[in-house]
Amino acid sequence: MIKFLLIALLSLTAAHGQIAVKADLLFTMTGDLKPIKNAIILCGPDGTIQAVGTDIQIPEDYQILTAKVATPGIIDAHSTVGLSGILNSPKHDQEQLEKSAPIQPELRAIDAYNGRDPLVKWLRDLGVTTVHTGHAPGTLISGQLMVVKTNVPSITSMKDTLIPASAIASTIGSKALSKSPGTRSKAIAMLRAEFLKAQARSLKIEAAKNDPEKEAPDANLKLDTLVDILTKKIPLLINAHRHQDIAAALRLREEFGFDLILDGAAEAYLLLDEIKAAKIPVIVHPTMGRPFGDMENMTFTLAAQLHKAGIPFAFQSGYETYVPKTRVVHFEAAMAAAYGLPQEAALAACTINAAKILGLADKIGSLEKGKHADLALFDGDPLETTTHTTHVIINGKLVSSTAK
């Protein structure tokens, strides 16, 4: 009897908190990506999507939110938010780049992430529900990235993240050059030398597993993380902009056989065939990134060109050393849509296609029964600058209604 009452009480309170969304236009980001008109979504008590469609009865006690347009919660495929804080104050809120050594894959994003930084809220209020964030470009290997929802204030356990270690951030190009490596050739030689060490270590580990006579090597955070890359437990995300740097990244992958995500890739339009043949995804630089340094020959049409070539890609807010301290990923998608990328493809590249690249397409990125109830509600075309984000929902809960 008590058990029954408890269940009844639980379901009652849960139902009270449950949200139904009525949208004039709903981008589920499934199938052909075309939006459906006059759609309804029910958020379940467990934070997943209970139902989605046009012919749905909204239970009486649901809180109803209406919107001109609704999309899946926006996914930022590469950011430094939470590590690179709003004040830009070194030793206080700048945790994204450690320059004491050129190769430090052992630095974890979870040990640095501050979900209470105002920029995380800034992105959340604008509709970004998931960020792939962590160490910034700037050294050969700067550290790890993680995937986290923007409503998570602190990382109290690995369960607070979607993926605690989602990729290792690497940079090939001018930004990774310093006293040493001082040239591009030296940079690649250093990376190859470390991966060769990791290869040898990987063989030793395997041998020890199969032969009790053989001793496994002592733990080594750095090399063990590189072994994880070589054994494809974690992808290497290489930031490379110039065509020769992109080519170097492709060569490294060819030699060591890791999972590669190409990041930035300003001159990728010169190597479309090679990138397509290598079957690697690209997380393109912010469309409104600044055309200087290795990005001097960037084009606003890059995303459109990747789309046309059939190369999988997603958008990112990237890393900014000054103002604006963070970009907003769907603003970058919007600008690409102004330069030849179809609207649905632009939205897909900051929702479902970003989820696919991050290996999370079974949980987030589209609005389907059973997936996380993460939504962004708008009062117009989500890509128009003048449109406001009216409500943001994460795991079925309303996290913002600021109409920003």
Partner: protein, 444 residues
């Protein structure tokens, strides 16, 4: 710059010959080209939007704007059908760093003698990109790392070989420019002679202006006496400051925090100069005080707050708060902070935060002209004003709208259909090189 100019070139001999012939007889006014852009949606900015409208130019000047059925197009006019296109005035950026501009050199915090004029590279690709962004007039400034980093320069982005080709002459024959000043953290440094605090920053500036007041009086007396025997020892730095005190030059003052904004207002009160507040990140906190001081603002809208301590409390509503209080408000790119090609989008952020479309358009054009004291010649589409305008593919505030053409003084300076211009508009291989090597041996 492509087909239309080629056509003009082809016709040139036909037109030129009778001119030369007639000038031999009498020397009448040279015949000016008349252009009519017809059937467009036109935002004159100084008056409401007109559908199905015509913009009529003669030479470098606008001679008529209005509904197509009310404009008489002369028979010899070149007609350009602009059906489906939108025409707005050339954009005016009140604060930009394009053209590889530099100013003061960190040897001291106040350097009024330094001119950005002497640093500008008119062939820098950033200038081509600004034309692709629809910008026709800019205030080119040095940075904010000094209390006073030098004399700015107002330019029209005409095509030209020298900075003088792009410059604007005032009625007295001097070039149009202002003076760049800054307060807050950017001009505070760890080592002297730079200030280490805000109070010291203000004291250094006040001391310099007090010296300039003495110089101003001496200079006025010398001019009044008009005695050729007497020599007057010019001091380049004090001369610039005296021009500010004479209200001949406007101070363009970088300032972010509410307290720094109020410091500028105090300086203005004490020395009576013409000042424009730039960036004004915390304008929303002291909007009443700004309005009461009757000081114009030049704003920037960034995609997020922060990036520096002073910009922590930056808000998009700065624009609407100033609009509510009737403050003359323009926008700027601060290129490279915001790329010149995103200037229209910047105004759209203002609209998003509550600014009216009209005031946002003014902020890109007429308000900037007023702030630079150039509103008699540019900033709106009115008869008698210089023919600076931009052709758009659609609504000025839509992200999908593309800039198709930019015209300055009746001459096309950007055409999206031209491959070289398109490279500057969109980027791509070669767009980044300031001086792209050409000729036999440099091609890839």
């Amino acid at each position: 710059m492509r087909s239309r100019n080629l056509l003009a070139l082809a016709l040139a001999p036909l037109i030129a010959f009778p001119l030369i012939y007639s000038s031999a007889q009498e020397s009448p006014e040279p015949e000016l080209k008349i252009q009519a852009f017809t059937n467009a949606t036109i935002y004159p900015v100084s008056s409401p939007k007109i559908e199905n409208a015509t913009l009529l130019l003669k030479g470098d000047t606008i001679i008529a704007v209005g509904p197509s059925d009310q404009i008489n197009i002369p028979a010899d006019a070149q007609r350009i059908d602009a059906t489906g296109k939108t025409i707005i005035p050339g954009l005016i950026c009140t604060h930009s760093h394009i053209g590889s501009v530099s100013g003061a050199d960190s040897s001291s915090p106040i350097q009024p003698e330094v001119r950005v004029l002497d640093s500008i590279d008119v062939r820098d690709t950033s200038i081509n990109k600004a034309r692709a962004g629809g910008i026709t007039t800019v205030n080119l400034m040095s940075g904010s790392g000094h209390l006073l980093s030098g004399q700015t320069l107002y330019l029209k982005l005409r095509e030209g070989n020298t900075v003088e080709d792009l410059s604007i002459k005032l009625p007295d024959g001097s070039l149009a420019y202002g003076v760049k000043m800054a307060n807050g953290t950017n001009s505070i440094r760890d080592n002297g002679p730079f200030p280490g605090t805000r109070a010291k920053s203000a004291a250094l500036v006040r001391q310099k202006f007090l010296e300039a007041q003495v110089y101003q009086k001496k200079r006025a007396k010398h001019l009044e006496e008009n005695d050729l025997e007497k020599t007057f020892e010019r001091d380049l730095a004090l001369e610039t400051l005296a021009d500010i005190l004479d209200r001949k030059r406007t101070v363009h003052h970088h300032t972010h925090r509410h307290d720094d904004i109020l410091t500028v207002l105090r300086l203005k009160e004490e020395f009576g100069f013409k000042v424009v507040l730039h960036h004004v990140s915390e304008a929303w906190k002291v909007a009443d005080e700004i309005a009461a001081a009757n000081v114009p603002c030049s704003l920037i809208f960034l995609d997020s707050p922060g990036g520096k301590l002073e910009a922590r409390d930056f808000e998009w509503r700065n624009g609407v708060e100033l609009e509510k209080r009737g403050v003359l408000t323009a926008l700027h790119t601060d290129d490279p902070i915001n790329d010149s090609r995103w200037f229209l989008r910047n105004a759209a952020i203002g609209v998003r935060a509550g600014m009216s479309r009209q005031k946002s358009l003014e902020a890109l054009t007429l308000s900037g002209a007023k702030i630079l004291d150039l509103d008699k010649s540019v900033g709106s589409l009115e008869p008698g004003k210089q023919a600076d305008f931009v052709l758009l593919s659609g609504d000025p505030f839509s992200i999908y709208t593309r800039i198709l053409e930019t015209h300055i003084e009746g001459k096309q300076v950007f055409d999206l259909e031209d491959p070289q211009d398109r490279l500057f508009a969109e980027g791509g291989y070669g767009a980044g090189h300031n001086r792209q090597a050409t000729g036999c041996c440099f091609y890839r």
